[in-house]
Symmetry: C3
């Protein structure tokens, strides 16, 4: 007759995930968080897409780049978790997923989320080291997809400490409700936790890891669909591709990744290769790219440097077509992070230099400056 | 000067409607709930629309079929209630309504909600017995509309125990902000509560009614608009109609409905008739349809059957045009429900057989298989 | 290791902003509120745009005019505030902003919100005296914009008690993510708090100010963009303008405003001038407009009048083009407000008379009747 499942006292707390409500038996909980990201960029915010579109349209911009509402928690059991993330400004539902996390070595995720493939993309836009992801994210990310994932960590704290993720996804990107054909997207990732400690998916060593924590990872994916790239907007195509025909492209891709955090120092690096086969024109194209990124809290060695300040740098290199090896795109960036309250309230100032070469060996260069404030409530 | 209306202790509970906050005087409350529905379907999810579109486009699909956020409660008085339901994946506001429920025999509802017409449609997609509604829902449902409703229960627990609903609506469907003409949609429903007990609008006898609880209901509706059918997407047209002219169609429709729950057994049945008058071509068309649905928890009579398991079946029959009486569409389905936690956490496996006949007496048949997990947080 | 920032007891209250959660140190808080506005209007809801569009399309309407979800609070510090407002029915994010309110004399706001320019527009649609804003709101409002605002109150409770607002905005309206050109919108407003008391931005003297509280304000704005007007829908154009060319129009505008509340009586008045320069045709146009509005709780002088009843009236006058001074548009309205619970639960009945003159000195007149229920949860 009554609607009450549990009339016991509910715990209310403010946590790193916002206000949280939970039943005393921990079977039910809900947390609610909002996040805003303000950004000023000049002469343009977007990284140039290729040589021809090089800052085509220069517009100094001040904008609210991200406005997110996050609701998560667990229900029925402590290990039955759920998570929603909504982009308020665009009106896009980004994440909606249920996780069955009963055993550490075997967990299941169902719904839509950021495919566990590359570190740079998995790290939340609110926990990045630079203002945003590098130029190689656009061509190589698998982004958000719908489907099922099996994952876990095996032999923890031993020499054989691995974290694995196996995903079977529709392969048609965020927001799509049906697959365009009967071909699915398969993604596998195997991560070796070098020192028997698992490195979390965040930028910057804010926590000051006393012991080195590192990972080596390989990942691979194969998909057949009408898309050659994915983003928060869903499926799309790289320059040079413009099909709407279901299943026109086969994508095979792989990466090798390293990352380390140790005493205020952080390092991460990804090396990508991707092959696009066009079944209509019977042509292939191979793309390669990598980035090297590092950051450090210099207050650890220099007394006059304030504690909340981190300096970070990135070098990214992208070859849109290995047949024209000289047509390359480079990004070099430097960022200063001021952590008011870890990643939850952070100011970032960034300078980036782009250097793109056309297939005809012409060159274009440009500087970009950005300031960003990211705050979670 | 202070914003506080009530500084007394707020009750926080976890209820069947999610986390709930309420003031000690019960004048204010708010509950927050989310729901996800995952579905796998092969060879296709949608029921075929008619003979010609019979599984035209076969696509095995795995998808998040529904992602809902629900906020409700009361304000100022215990009987002044409100309710919002938002479809997160589509970005659609489904329900937004205020209910004045001061007296049981006379209540008022204002806003947008699922018109109180047919049982199958009123039952929430999270509380259904089968994976989804039958083939006759599409042509006959009035779906969500905006307007006002008067309703109540009279002579409760007597021989004359009736529940009535009278609705005056714009008749242009969900999400429309203006009426297309000055013709309104009128809906009436009279429900006889057979044994002096009111049957709730949910599938399956989870509660194990010790006493038989049943209803007989009749309902009728009349509308003039440019639409011949309604769905969550708003107003639309049945195959054969494609007007955009305000007020082109007059729809008159009626139904007779029965339902019963008793000791684990549940029954429901609807019988529909609908007449569409096209004022432009001066033609009429009459549609008829019905379904019979039943379910049972066999654990009540068979010891070896697990308690959370229910078996249910449906037979639905639709005649798109009574002038071509032989052109008929049939659906036969069987479902197995596993109730982890009543309707709030439920797994359903369903097999359906479709048998459609064209006006030329050709026949098409097809099987469909679906699995669905519906979970509320 | 734990997610808890503060495990101390969270205060939960029901306030004028809905349910509110706050940490004992007041550094973190969150409030959650919903609002619905139901409206019946005949023969039409919208005020006529000009002589030619005069009730072109008469449609009696009953609709849910506004359905809002509001989330606000503070984080990290009591003076670091945030606020989101979402229009659920349209799926529009209206407000998303952060306020640094550490000092009363100098505050900073970043994000998107209703530009602090004219009283009528700043007052929330839920706290208005009439059913909605007058005919001069459409041509003169700056509406919601993105950018930064500096504001504060100086010399409070002295003879030199001023409130100022200086805004630098993109000038492309709600929901735009980039500026169309490098020209920004600048808005300044200086308000003199006559009696050393600041008048809040709400209609009707519900609080029964024992002492007179009044303001005199001047404001000005300049912008260059492709738009000649703004609304909740973003940038748009007044009748006679239809450009999509970035930076085609320069808008200079100014206003003089007065307002007073005293013992149940409320008064407000705005006087606007706006000049549009079209850089393509090299033409100018000047628009002027004003309104006078007053309301009173007659229960203060007449015993037989019920306490919750307020009577209010408005007269608005708009000259779309001062070169054709005789082409004028007038609105005369009278409203009866019944405050169940201040502005949070209010019923309004309104009668309006429109009298528009064409440049050819033709005249059109019409009556409009509206009833509105506005309720916050």
């Amino acid at each position: 007759q009554t609607d009450s499942i549990s009339s016991e006292k509910i715990n209310v707390e403010y946590t790193k995930k916002g206000f949280q409500f939970s039943t005393p038996d921990k079977n039910y909980s809900l947390h609610l968080e909002a996040r805003l990201q303000f950004r000023f960029a000049t002469p343009n915010d977007q990284s140039p897409v290729n040589f021809d579109y090089f800052f085509q349209d220069n517009k100094t911009s001040f904008k609210i780049n991200r406005a997110r509402l996050k609701i998560g928690g667990n229900a029925y059991k402590p290990w039955l978790k759920y998570y929603f993330e909504y982009e308020l400004a665009q009106g896009n539902l980004l994440d909606f997923r249920v996780m069955i996390e009963r055993w550490d070595f075997f967990k299941i995720k169902i719904g839509q989320w950021k495919t566990y493939y590359s570190r740079e993309r998995i790290i939340s836009s609110g926990k990045q080291q630079m203002v945003d992801r590098s130029i190689i994210n656009r061509p190589f990310t698998i982004d958000r997809q719908q489907g099922i994932e099996f994952y876990g960590r095996i032999f923890p704290e031993t020499f054989y400490d691995f974290t694995y993720h196996i995903s079977v996804l529709t392969g048609t990107g965020r927001g799509s409700t049906i697959n365009d054909n009967n071909h699915l997207l398969y993604v596998g990732r195997l991560q070796y936790n070098l020192f028997g400690r698992e490195l979390e998916m965040t930028g910057s060593d804010i926590k000051f890891h006393e012991k080195p924590t590192a990972l080596l990872a390989i990942a691979a994916a194969t998909n057949r669909s009408q898309y050659t790239r994915f983003s928060s907007a869903g499926g799309g195509n790289l320059v040079g591709y413009d099909s709407n025909e279901p299943g026109q492209y086969r994508i095979n891709q792989a990466l090798f990744e390293t990352a380390l955090k140790y005493r205020g120092f952080s390092w991460q690096n990804e090396n990508h290769i991707k092959k696009i086969t066009d079944y209509k024109t019977n042509t292939d194209r191979t793309l390669t790219g990598y980035y090297l990124q590092a950051g450090y809290f210099f207050s650890n060695i220099l007394d006059f440097v304030p504690k909340p300040l981190e300096v970070a740098g990135i070098y990214a290199h992208y070859t849109p077509n290995t047949d024209f090896g000289y047509s390359k795109e480079q990004e070099m960036g430097m960022a200063f992070n001021w952590f008011f309250k870890e990643h939850r309230n952070k100011l970032t100032m960034e300078v980036t230099h782009f250097d793109y070469e056309s297939p005809e060996r012409m060159e274009q260069k440009e500087w970009r400056f950005r300031i960003q404030w990211d705050i979670s409530f």
